[in-house]
Amino acid sequence: MDLVEFQGKQLFARNGVPVPPPGAVCRSVDEAVAAAERLLPDAGAVVVKAQVKVGGRGKAGGVRLARSVDEAREAAGAILGLDIKGHVVHVVLVEPASDIAEEYYLSVMHDRVGKGDLVICSRQGGVDIEEVNRTDPGAVVKRQVLPSERADGLPRGVADEIVAAADLPAEVRDAAAELLVALFGAYLAEDATLVEINPLIRTTDDRVLALDAKVSLDANAAFRHGDHAEWDVEGLEVRDPLEDRARAEGLQYVKLDGEVGVLGNGAGLVMATLDVVAQNGGRAANFLDVGGGASAESMATALSLVLSDPAVRSVFINIFGGITRGEEVARGVLGALERLGDFPQRLVVRLDGTNAEEGRRILAEAAHPSVVPAPTMQEAAALAVRLAEEAA
């Protein structure tokens, strides 16, 4: 799960990472104006910032400084509703402006290649760090941290080395190292896969603050972070209602823009199914992995989800049995059909693997008019594409 800035700053604050004074989360121009009226007397200026899960907000006009209530009204009006790379802004953060002397970059992330954690620090912040890394790699310090050296968090000595290697100014090195230790602590304590501060600022009075926050949390670790669900709030971004429903049902579902509904067991097989549908001249309407150990009930839930997408004109059910047994799949399909009543789409079903023969027999005996069996993946894909075309 990715957090937006204000959520990331909440996570930082509760883990001791210094952030600017709290602002206000606003969903309308009126709320932003009220926040500016409250904050401006002390702050002198506020920043109105789009809360979307995408980079490059500044360049896209999603971040504006306001020195008066009128300017704040204008900024909020311009930013709310703005489309930033396909992400429409529904929420802005109105925050007291900080006095920026310099901008740096600091992050901790999961390092897939090194199978550890990676700290990245640069004196050049507030810009695209990938671009800095391309043009001036010497300015980007990367330090891998293995579990054996961070059993009690990131050692202060390692943090000191990193900020020194990045050549942060002597006046702020202590504060920056302390902040890095806290940031690393947040990364571990919250099961994050990324905590990024860009920019990390040096204020005119030599403090360091996280002016921005980009945080990704590991969904697999949700079982030990009941409070993370609070950040999964509605209305932050417009999400596909089917994706929301799938998440509530615990299904791996991604909405795509084609017309052939796809469901299968196993992420790889479903991805392959999308490919085969495309190679047969169609487009998949979705990715849906019913997962291992899928019962008749979860199959019915999955099928009902796919059929409720108005774009779906035919459905390709592609099951190769490992954990999921063929007879369970067959009963699930039939159970779903019973529960769903009449629907116009036809289902191409391809079953193979564990107990597949039993599953095929159950489907054959039921002889449901909506079910079209197919022997191979290629034939099933061609059939599903043709049925979708005929239904158009």
């Binding site: 980079g55 579990p147 067991n265 992420a267």
Partner: protein
């Protein structure tokens, strides 16, 4: 020969609930020596379905039965500790089937068990491995394949079955099939398996099934080109239609927006193709390419 598991492999199962028992029984029926179950509160009881003893710890199971391989099927919150326990008990190979293990748990596990411990860990979030005719450890349906000389390594479960099935229909059997798992951190990498196949006299050709995301396939391709240029190798990468930035089921299967490149299926196909390793666009084509390369 085969790699990692064979007829002499002795398996202890951690996680003997209904799924663990179902698959352990299938593994046993296939001919695998499943010798014990482990359950912290059921030590001393009998595992009736398997007619095997239950021990409270892996160490006791190893001591009493000579188990050298553990199959881990405990729920995700307990997987880190289960793998660490098996490693500390001295098993040679750990096969972790469980999906949904937090990445920071795996960072710790990888460091102790693999990087510093040298134990063979396969998975997590994997279907296990099968050496047809000898041993099946995990959830791969054994009856869809047969003994042979093609080594198969894959990040996907059901997709692997698909390809094994198509090869079997063409009369091509498998030396060992290893499902390494689809998570960002798995114990055994593509390249580890390919190197083991290269050292196995019975494996004459290699098929691999990759996924979008990461760069393991490319690294494996470079090693193949440099070290075993004459071995027939065929690949398949799923996810040509996967949009950037969307996670496709597996935690590792995501093409990062603005990433370094080389993560999409088409890019991987092109990079590997340039190394002389043909990469199919769908599972049937992968099987067909292998059949052609073997001249059958």
């Amino acid at each position: 020969m085969s790699i990692f598991v064979d007829a002499s492999t002795r398996v202890v199962v951690q996680g003997i609930g209904s799924q663990g028992t179902f698959h352990a029984a299938r593994n046993r029926a296939y001919g695998t020596q499943v010798v014990a179950g482990v359950h912290p509160r059921r030590g001393g009881e009998r595992w009736d379905e398997l007619d095997a003893p239950i021990f409270a710890t892996v160490a006791e199971a190893v001591e009493a039965t000579g188990a050298d391989t553990s199959m881990v099927m405990v729920p995700a919150p307990f997987t880190r500790d289960a793998i660490l326990e098996a490693h500390r008990a001295g098993v040679r190979t750990i096969v972790a089937i469980t999906e949904g293990v937090p990445v920071q748990d795996m960072t710790v596990v990888y460091d102790e068990v693999v990087r510093r411990g040298g134990t063979r860990l396969i998975g997590p979030n994997c279907p296990g491995l099968i050496s047809p005719g000898r041993a099946n450890v995990g959830i791969i349906p054994g009856d869809i394949t047969m003994p042979g000389n093609v080594g198969l390594v894959s990040r996907s479960g059901t997709l692997t079955y698909q390809i094994m099935h198509e090869l079997a229909q063409a009369g091509i059997g498998i030396s060992t099939c290893v499902g390494i798992g689809g998570d960002p951190i798995v114990g055994t990498q593509f390249l580890d398996v390919i190197q083991a196949f290269a050292a196995d006299p019975e494996t004459e050709a290699i098929a691999f099934v990759g996924e979008i995301g990461g760069g393991e396939e490319q690294r494996a391709g470079e090693w193949i080109r440099a070290n075993i240029p004459d071995t027939p190798v065929v690949g398949y990468i799923a996810g040509f239609e996967a949009p950037a930035g969307k996670q496709m089921g597996h935690a590792g299967a995501i093409v990062r927006e603005g990433g370094p490149g080389g993560e999409s299926a088409a890019e991987k196909q092109e990079l590997l193709g340039a190394m002389g390793i043909p990469v199919a666009s769908n599972p049937s084509e992968a099987a067909r390419l292998m059949i052609e390369r073997l001249g059958r």
